[in-house]
Symmetry: C2
Subunit: 335 residues, 2 copies
Amino acid sequence: MASRIRIAVDCMGGDLGLRACLPAAVKALSSFPDLDIVLVGNEQQIARLLDVSRHEFLSIAHAPDVVTMSDKPTVALKHKKQSSMRCAIDMLHQKQVDAVVSGGNTGALMAMACLVLKTLPGIDRPAICSLIPTADGHSLLLDLGANVDCKPEHLYQFAMMGSVLASVLDGREAPTIALLNIGEEAGKGSETVKLADALCKADTNLNYTGYTEADRLLSGDADVIVADGFVGNIALKSCEGTASYISDVIQNEFSHSRVSKVLGFVARPVLKTVLQKLDPQQYNGASFLGLNGIVVKSHGNSSAEGFFNAIAQARTEVVNDMINVMARRLTVLSL
Amino acid sequence: MASRIRIAVDCMGGDLGLRACLPAAVKALSSFPDLDIVLVGNEQQIARLLDVSRHEFLSIAHAPDVVTMSDKPTVALKHKKQSSMRCAIDMLHQKQVDAVVSGGNTGALMAMACLVLKTLPGIDRPAICSLIPTADGHSLLLDLGANVDCKPEHLYQFAMMGSVLASVLDGREAPTIALLNIGEEAGKGSETVKLADALCKADTNLNYTGYTEADRLLSGDADVIVADGFVGNIALKSCEGTASYISDVIQNEFSHSRVSKVLGFVARPVLKTVLQKLDPQQYNGASFLGLNGIVVKSHGNSSAEGFFNAIAQARTEVVNDMINVMARRLTVLSL
């Protein structure tokens, strides 16, 4: 019998808090029969919204405290040891669960995960990695903000970790890896990017394809795109902002006159598909990579549907044994 | 009588070369009766496509050589002194024209402009600044790639130059300025950005509003958004790539079945407006700021319509005496 997958859900984070987490957890249980979910958070508040006893594979782990979105990571580390976020990570560390999903304060989550879980041997700094849409599916982009000032070695480590995640999530044997740069020719870009390019080229285990530019981010040219945390964050948010801008333009254009409203009504089924493809909730779920444990961050403003996608992503990483695959890959590199 | 505006058009650059520049020049002459245009390039090739004698305010300055898109800036500087690009910049330096517009190799154009025109007193490095669309109009984004590794002082200079350009192009008295960062709270971001934030805050002549995130780039929150050249380039190209991705999604969705084709046909007038708003040609024309002369770069893949917009932008900068406005602003600062 296949073993069950246990996921701790930090229920107290994100803009919607319980209103996103609880429906997402219930949907995940009905979608994945192999799943056990532990709701970590204020027991009373959870019980008020959901009768946990009605769900066979659902339980509550009470945590009295909450990390707020404005808590500084250092403060959260020191004073929020009884928070839902910290309790969930402690449970992962003690192997009571196989993964943690949280929609809370990213900086605090990363700081707690680093302190408690530690990084894998060979990794200096964990990175945040997310799916981005392409015409035929998705690519992966990392780092998204965990590491602001990076050395070339860090970018190289991100490339390697992204390669493992692409194998694990998408079953690709040799995912293609590109470095995000402001030109494709050798000689372009910052010194850090040029040195990282040399490190990636030297690793024959990496299917490294060279530089890519930001206008090709959603082209699907590469399975994994690597940048430092500042640049990766700017790139992802620029894409999100543009999608949201265009979505507004479409909705405005189809509503500003009686004729355009009728046209919008007629074209609605197709427009709906278009707007769905632009919905960041479809790609919600950022993996923290390089830690000794699976942690997936759901976007702060995620809906229940988005949070469900983050849980599903954590499950896939557990099913495919991501941590051990990555640890083995790192051992080969260090030989 | 108002004096005439003289613009040198480097005709040999860009993917379309003469096929974009010549129709753009003709359109500019008919749109702006105060304009004189000098077409700089291969006289025979120009004459084959356009009868210059039929246009009162159009002339040709023959240049035998061409800077290619693959020429390295150092090579172009040394060996392409007879190129159309260099001749146009030399004409500007010798005050035979008031501005240069080129769709050629950005690195070579910047290198030649720096060498020949020099920077204004108080400016270490010129920056590249472009319009980006917003719901109600546009904002300005700089630097777009001229300066990869920036110090805080450079970002501050970009803020000041962007402020002047926003006044000149849009007639705003105190344009709002924001620094692009990966969070809005103090303490977020790189060391360089934090120090630049302090410099901008200290300048009471600057209407500085603090940090902005990349998902707000197209929101119109700030009139001018400042970043180093690496980050600015990534942000702009991420926006462009997303717009192009979404434009493809829309066109695909409206063509993949007979029903959706009919819907697309019916909704065409509105869709056309949407797609036009996403068209980067509408915002073509990047100003090189901080030089002692007006240089506008048209995008390499620009159409005639895009190139026309770049010419119009150069004209506006001349009409509003941008160089002197900026020089005066710099003098006040250095007092």
